[in-house]
């Protein structure tokens, strides 16, 4: 372990550490632009120059490995002068347009020029001018400001896995761009905005909207996919203006997907801001009292067996628990949170979790994808798979239609029949799985949300058991969900009780008239035409498919407008926090259900979110630990039986339009127009969602 002295502080660092990292460890700040701990070292901005004793000239600390007995000075005259000189060079071609630059207030160059720069410029000549590039609807460019740190190029190449950005030309005429005019085709492209240390790459939808110091920052979690990325919600007044990633090594590292980041403008469109009741075939604005009375009328006369409830993809656990208890008190066991009809088995927790954990992917050595398209279902899981792939010694195979996942994948077949082949004796990939030290499989909704899903689940379990994926020290059986609410719903048993109907039976019952009333808690992804003549209550935040069909609409809160718990696909309980209030008369979802229960004569026994959470935690101990994971015990699950040899169909047809919020977002609509058309190959048409 090299031991070195930095500004008089002695530090010991692991071999392979750079001088810059050693400085950080010693608590000494070294200014830098191009260096980023998650990207390869480029060493081209020169801002991190420090003085090393006995070295003839200042060294670039980001690229210099720490060695024994080095004596580093970061604050000597020589180091200061070197920095000042570098900063002056960087500013030669950097425009003095901070007042009109969106990076202002959170700009590395601005901050470091203040701290380490010279107090005037000596450059009298003209600054160079660079044409702005068009990177699509998300990333706005102002290339005059670019200091050529190449962070964006390295991010696109290494993390996003789309080699489209590059530095063309050289010297004074070097430019960052795609050379051939095109939009960046990555679901992670928004991250280059955060990476850019200057204002060259900024957010296009957020352009000239706000200054960072005007914003109220709330730490929360994302609900637009089942990864549950840690986010920071920036709001001004009631409006959520932008969403940024928050560091969480276990889940999203420091990236978020473009949908998480940019669907935020959907929160201001098509909102339900007051209750509605259908009168004479048309939805008419109503008061809360009228709406509750209408529900009491529609639900009250029916026996428990004739009413049902479905929970959607963005719903928090508290609301689902309140609805479950309300339905139980009404005598109905017809509840289901699997609105996509996935044959998930709620009896065994290990059967529906991403047991390996997202960070655990980095330990695996073989991965089998079954009916899942992680790039669109969970871009950050895909980024983790790519990270593991780049480290080498990682084999990936897939069952399902061919995809570009940004890393090479062996295609084993199209449908579930391959699972039996793999479990058999004579399959080359079966041997690869059996020979692996830490094999894993990822089972997607493309495999489970079909008629033979339970049989596929059983076949996957058998495969996992026969290839040594499930051991005391390793669980390689993973289910990748597409909805933030799903695992939470399964954890609290928002599934049919004894004799209850599941989603398919509820919809069939509506068609036949056996179900007279349905409560949709944010459920928009079901086929509304199958609800027949049932009395439909929709509680949610957007005027989407559910509200259109409903007889009574109750305005709820979106995930940024309420304190709520979500459980991600790993089974990690995470708390979303309120960043602003829901619009108009809309209320938090659990409170709506609590108020409604009173009108229906079955008052729920909690008057505050705190009491509701206490009840939740005492009934379901896995919710006691926020942000942690309780490992699930293995058991038998799934249903043995024949599987249809029909190819898997991936659950997401368009990454940018998957839920009521993103469907209401103008930015996502633009992305869909630009990217979906580009990716939509004949093998994958728009009718398969």
């Amino acid at each position: 372990m090299p031991k070195l002295t930095i500004d008089g502080i002695e530090v010991e660092v692991p071999p392979g550490t750079t001088v810059l990292q050693a400085c950080q460890r010693a608590g000494v700040e070294v200014p830098h632009f191009c260096y980023h701990e998650r990207l390869q070292i480029a060493g081209n901005c020169r801002m991190c120059l420090v003085e090393q004793e006995k070295a003839p000239k200042p060294i670039a600390s980001c690229a210099m490995p720490a060695a024994d007995n080095m004596v580093i000075h970061t604050d000597s005259e020589k180091a200061k002068k070197a920095r000042k000189g570098v900063m002056e060079f960087l500013l030669i071609n950097h425009p003095l347009d901070c007042p009109i630059c969106d990076q202002g207030g959170e700009c590395d160059l601005q901050d470091q020029a203040m701290a380490y720069g010279f107090d005037r410029g000596r450059f009298e000549e003209n600054k160079r001018a660079v044409k702005d590039k068009d990177f699509g609807p998300l990333v706005k460019t102002s290339m005059n400001r670019c200091i050529h740190c190449t962070r964006c190029v390295r991010f696109a190449t290494e993390i996003a896995g789309v080699e489209e950005l590059g530095a063309t030309g050289r010297g004074e005429s070097m430019e960052i761009g795609t050379y051939v005019q095109k939009a960046l085709t990555s679901e992670l492209s928004g991250n280059i905005i955060d990476l850019c240390p200057v204002g060259a790459l900024t957010s296009k939808p957020y352009a000239f909207v706000a200054r960072p110091w005007e914003l109220r920052k709330t730490e929360s979690v994302d609900a637009l996919d089942a990864v549950g990325s840690s986010i920071r919600v920036d709001a001004r007044g009631a409006a959520v203006l932008r969403i940024l990633p928050r560091l969480n090594e276990d889940v999203n590292e420091e990236w978020i997907s473009d949908k998480t980041r940019f669907a935020v403008d959907g929160l201001g469109h098509r909102r339900l801001d007051r209750p509605y009741v259908r009168v004479g075939g048309k939805l008419a604005p109503a008061s809360w009292g009228d709406a509750f009375n209408a529900i009491a009328e529609g639900f009250g006369k029916l026996p428990g067996g004739k009413i049902a409830a479905l929970a959607g993809d963005l719903v928090d656990v508290e609301a689902m628990l309140a609805l479950k208890e309300l339905m139980l008190s009404l005598g109905s066991a017809n509840i289901d949170c699997r609105q996509d009809g996935a044959k998930l088995d709620p009896a065994s927790r290990a059967s529906y979790l991403f047991n390996t954990t997202i960070a655990g992917i980095e330990e695996a050595d073989v991965c089998l994808l079954i009916g899942t398209d992680p790039r669109w279902e969970a871009p950050l899981v895909n980024a983790r798979l790519r990270k593991r792939y780049l480290r080498g010694g990682f084999k990936i195979a897939a069952i399902g239609p061919t995809l570009d996942l940004t890393f090479p994948v062996v295609q084993l077949g199209l449908g579930p029949e391959v699972l039996d082949d793999l479990a058999g004796a004579n399959h080359s990939w079966g041997d690869v799985l059996k020979g692996a030290k830490k094999p894993m499989l990822i089972l997607g909704m493309g495999a489970l949300a079909r008629a033979d899903g339970a049989q596929i689940l059983a076949a996957a379990r058998r495969l996992a058991e026969s290839t040594g994926m499930v051991r005391d020290d390793w669980n390689g059986f993973n289910v990748l969900h597409t909805a933030a609410a799903r695992v939470g719903g399964l954890d609290i048993g928002f599934v049919p009780g004894p004799g209850g109907r599941d989603r398919d039976a509820i919809l069939a019952g509506c068609e036949s008239g056996e179900i007279g009333a349905v409560y949709l808690l944010g459920a928009d992804e079901i086929d509304m035409s199958r609800l027949g003549r049932a009395f439909v209550v929709y509680q949610g935040h957007h005027g989407d498919a559910g509200a259109k069909r409903a007889d009574v609409v109750l305005p709820g809160a979106a995930y940024t407008e309420k304190d709520g718990l979500y459980v991600n696909t790993e089974g990690r309980v995470q708390a979303a926090r309120r960043a602003g209030f829901p619009p108009g008369e809309a209320r938090e979802d659990w409170a709506i259900l609590r108020a409604l229960s009173d009108v229906l004569g079955h008052k729920l026994p909690y008057d505050s979110l705190r009491e509701l959470r206490q009840r939740l935690m005492s009934a379901y101990p896995s919710f006691a630990e926020i942000d942690g994971i309780v490992a699930a015990s293995w058991g038998a699950f799934g249903v043995e039986g024949a599987m249809e040899p029909v190819p898997f169909i991936y659950p997401i047809a368009d990454f940018y339009l998957t839920d009521p919020i993103s469907r209401a977002s103008p930015t996502m609509a633009q992305c869909s127009a630009v990217y979906w058309a580009a990716r939509n190959t004949p093998a994958k048409t728009g009718t398969n969602g």
Binding site: V130, K131, K133, E163, E164, L165, G166, A167, T168, G169, R170, S173, M174, E175, G177, T178, Y179, V180, Q181
Partner: protein
């Protein structure tokens, strides 16, 4: 400038394919590198493509090279725009690269450039309407001893002045390129006033240990 940062505003051919002969040469270059490292052959392949395609590289050619070498296209664009030797827009049949770096400039490259401009009626970076000549100003060509220098396609024409430049252009206009090398009476880069070294017969050297005074290697 050679570097273009977006689609060059010139008519780009739809496609590009190596001739069978060049494909063979390409394979020869690729075979020099271990499997998986074939991207190392990008420079010779781009050069082959440029020579095959009238001395300039259309985007289709760069894409073809990228596909052959199984590397992302942007990586090929980066290489092609980095080197000024790759022309990303059409050049004349005779592509004049005029050196104006200090030694050539001190030896009268201004007159050479002026003669070219006047004679051809085009400016630096332009091409004559008949497509015969185009001009580019370059940094040091590495032939400072014979300054000023013009590189015409692959050949150096050296020790030029206004008159000899005019003669050179006339000859090229008639498609009779003169032999490359100095335009004055001189053997390659040897001193113009005749030899100043190696005047004695090296086989008749003095015996070892009796180096002549003033030889810095003697001590």
């Amino acid at each position: 400038m050679s570097a273009e940062h977006n689609d060059t505003p010139v008519a780009q051919p739809e496609s590009f394919a190596f001739t069978a002969e060049n494909l063979e040469k390409a394979r020869y270059h690729i075979a020099k590198y271990p499997p998986g490292r074939q991207a190392s052959a990008v420079l010779p392949l781009l050069d082959l493509a440029q020579r095959q395609h009238d001395n300039w590289l259309p985007r289709a050619a760069m894409d073809t090279v990228a596909d052959i070498l199984e590397m992302p296209r942007i990586r090929v664009y980066e290489v092609a725009t980095f080197y000024s030797m790759f022309n990303l827009r059409p050049v004349g049949k005779y592509f004049l690269q005029l050196c104006t770096t200090t030694p050539c400039w001190l030896r009268g490259s201004d007159a050479v450039v002026e003669t070219c401009k006047h004679k051809l009626g085009i400016d630096i970076g332009e091409i004559t309407p008949d497509g015969k000549f185009s001009m580019m100003e370059v940094e040091c060509l590495g032939a400072c001893v014979n300054a000023p220098v013009i590189q015409v396609n692959d050949d150096f024409y050296e020790d030029l002045d206004a008159a000899s430049t005019e003669a050179l252009l006339d000859a090229l206009a008639n498609d009779r390129p003169p032999p490359m090398g100095p335009a004055v009476k001189r053997q390659n880069a040897a001193p113009i006033s005749g030899r100043t070294t190696l005047l004695s017969d090296p086989t008749q050297r003095q015996p070892a240990g009796t180096a002549p005074a003033g030889d810095p290697n003697a001590a």
